[in-house]
């Protein structure tokens, strides 16, 4: 069984490139060139250098002792929150900006939910002197104000998406429309492992540095590069795929993907895609999405803007359907409690997205010796407003 993309752009039943003809030349250009460019020596040299000196990689793998004691297992945190700009998103934007330059593009567009991907995109555009336009749902603009200000300070134009639920899904629609209308000079940096082939494969590849480093660091710290469990939160699923990537073919390592249950999976305010969704097409690929009987996309809900998405990437759909990954969900309140717990036990304020992965530890039982890696995909600075309101600080 292959868990990776095949030559047709599919992961089992999922993937493909369900795009209108207007997007075909750009997506095809990318499909034909991305691996060739990424494998060039010059690209790799520049990419690795930037990851090291600009992003600050490798990110630490930190054995969280007090958390470990509480859960009776060795809990390691992969500290993507310590990356420049505060989340894993920059791994992908550094890669894609180098790719865009080599494709001769001068204008960059992106969608963003929590604003982390928007900030990571605006950052690399400032670094390389490229024009940057970020689409962000109007609702998200309100709940992630600090990130909006950061993008503007970085020189990006932030355009509110005012259709639908005014969140990540709608920002993605607007970015796709922009790309249709600007077919020549523009590269669309998709931030998650979603979209038409080759995006899910390309984003996962750029994020795979997370598990590549984790394996080495585990070997150094524990004498084995094989953890018992790997956990990550899933919206579209880029940090999870980065965290899973080099463990996927090692079936002894259990992969746990944590979705956002919102106010509860049956509440009508949820983003638990694998529980609530069905197979279909969203944003250019065949995957699993939350939809009505008639195939209309259902508006999701999560307290965490980065998980507030009605679909998952096609590779996740495949890992879910084949049973290779275990897909679970955590409510808004559970995630906020887990965020507070990590803060007070370890002195780390996590992004609410990452707190979903942490919250699932509460539901697991350990016998004491297990090694567990949790991807701490981002830091919580952007979420202080939500934490403050919830806990009355």
């Amino acid at each position: 069984m292959s868990y990776f993309v095949n030559e047709k752009g599919y992961y089992g039943d999922f993937g493909g490139a369900y795009i209108p003809e207007m997007l075909y030349p750009n997506v095809e250009e990318l499909r034909l060139n991305y691996l060739k460019i990424i494998n060039e020596e010059g690209f790799q040299k520049e990419f690795q250098q930037l990851l090291k000196d600009y992003v600050g990689r490798p990110s630490p793998l930190y054995l969280a002792k007090r958390l470990s004691k509480k859960y009776n297992a060795n809990i390691f945190l992969k500290r993507e929150d310590l990356n420049h700009t505060g989340a894993h998103k920059i791994n992908n934007t550094v890669g894609q900006i180098l790719l865009a330059e080599r494709l001769g593009k001068r204008r960059i567009i992106a969608e963003t939910g929590a604003g982390q991907h928007g900030v990571a995109t605006a950052t690399v555009c400032a670094l390389r002197g490229l024009e940057c336009v970020v689409y962000m749902g109007e609702v998200d603009i309100k709940r992630q104000a600090p990130n909006v200000a950061r993008m503007k300070m970085l020189g990006a134009t932030v355009i509110p998406a005012t259709s639908g639920s005014k969140t990540l899904k709608d920002a993605t629609n607007e970015a796709m429309r922009d790309w249709i209308n600007n077919p020549f000079d523009t590269h669309y940096i998709i931030g998650s492992a979603v979209g038409p082939h080759p995006y899910p494969a390309m984003v996962a590849l750029f994020q795979s540095i997370i598990s590549e480093e984790t394996k080495k660091q585990l070997m150094e710290q524990t004498g084995s590069d094989q953890p018992d469990y790997v956990l990550a939160c899933v919206g579209g699923g880029s940090n999870a795929l980065g965290m899973f990537y080099h463990f996927i073919d090692d079936e002894k390592v259990k992969l746990i993907a944590v979705e956002a249950a919102g106010r509860g999976v049956s509440s009508g305010f949820s983003a638990a895609t694998t529980t609530l969704g069905k197979e279909g097409v969203l944003h250019g690929s065949r995957s699993i999405l939350m939809q009505t009987h008639d195939g209309q996309v259902v508006e999701p809900h999560s307290v965490s803007a980065g998980l507030d998405y009605p679909g998952i990437g096609p590779q996740h759909a495949h890992l879910f359907k084949t049973g290779r990954g275990q897909y679970v969900s955590i409510t808004d309140d559970e995630s906020l409690d887990a965020g507070l717990l990590l803060t007070q036990l370890e002195g780390i304020i996590p992004a609410i997205e990452s707190a979903h992965a942490l919250a699932y530890l509460e539901k697991m039982t350990f016998s004491g010796g297990e090694n567990v890696v949790v991807c701490l995909s981002g830091r919580g600075d952007k979420d202080m407003d939500t934490y403050m309101k919830h806990f009355n600080f």
């Binding site: 003809e21 429309r177 009987h293 209309q296 996309v297």
Partner: protein, 261 residues
């Protein structure tokens, strides 16, 4: 002979009109079709609405949202079209996105089209490869045309391939754009249109996206079998005087048709 083939054999300057089913009111689908035919439309594209229409601009996004809020879905649309062929004789295509069609079931969709007398469909986000491998035989079984889009950036090889898979006409986009923008025919657009004309395709062509005035319609007809008007028509619809607004709109494009009211 199919209604589409016959149309292209018999007519030039074909005027095709797009509208969204379920807009402005849920029950307007047939009324609009009848009135458009009476006012001289040659071909109709009835849109089945989708929540996330990425190829569409603000006007069709808005009409789609209202149609969905009104309760339109494919099941209801096919019910409304049940007696279509008693009163409407021009060719009719359904246009929409792939996900509602997948959820309805592609074979079931084709069957329903054939039962009510729909001649084909346009599904912009259904890729050519998937169509060819998975669905072309079902379309053929129910004698439905699948209409493909071509843009100025589509390569000649790909256009030839599209021509080979088409059996009705090819939908030429005036430029790479979402729907509802004004067409300005530049030298490069003209060069693209004549490039297509020189490919000697088996299928006729119609130009769409950005056609909003009589001038742009006439210009488009110089290069193709006709043109499609969508956003401009949808925008002109007036729920308080539906037939009147259609007559007023159509009079500009088909002044020769006697307007009875």
């Amino acid at each position: 002979m199919s209604r589409l083939k016959q149309l292209f054999q018999e007519k030039k300057n074909i005027l095709s009109i797009y509208y969204t089913a379920g807009y402005p009111s849920l029950g307007d689908t047939i009324t609009i079709a009848e009135e458009l035919e009476r006012c001289g439309a040659d071909l109709l594209e009835i849109g089945f609405p989708y929540s996330d229409p990425v190829a569409d601009g603000p006007i069709i996004q808005a009409s789609s949202k209202i149609a969905l809020d009104n309760g339109m879905d494919l099941k209801l649309l096919f019910q409304q079209l049940k007696d279509l062929r008693r009163t409407v004789s021009i060719p009719i295509l359904l246009m929409g996105y792939v996900n509602p069609m997948l959820q309805y079931g592609v074979e079931e969709f084709c069957k329903s089209c054939a039962e009510v007398g729909v001649d084909g469909c346009i599904v912009p986000d259904l890729p050519m490869v998937e169509y060819e491998e998975l669905y072309a035989s079902v379309f053929a079984q129910y004698r439905l045309s699948n209409i493909f889009l071509v843009t100025p950036q589509t390569s000649p090889e790909r256009i030839q391939k599209i021509d080979g898979l088409s059996n009705g006409f090819i939908y030429l986009l005036s430029s790479s754009a979402t729907t509802g923008q004004n067409l300005s025919i530049s030298d490069t657009t003209e060069a693209y249109f004549s490039r297509i004309a020189h490919l000697k395709l088996n299928n006729p062509t119609i130009i769409g996206f950005g056609i909003s005035s009589k001038e742009t319609f006439d210009k488009a007809c110089q290069y193709a079998g006709g043109a499609i008007i969508g956003s401009a028509f949808v925008k002109s619809l007036d729920a308080t005087d539906l037939k009147g607004s259609i007559q007023k709109f159509m009079k500009v494009f088909k002044p020769e048709v006697e307007q009875l009211s």
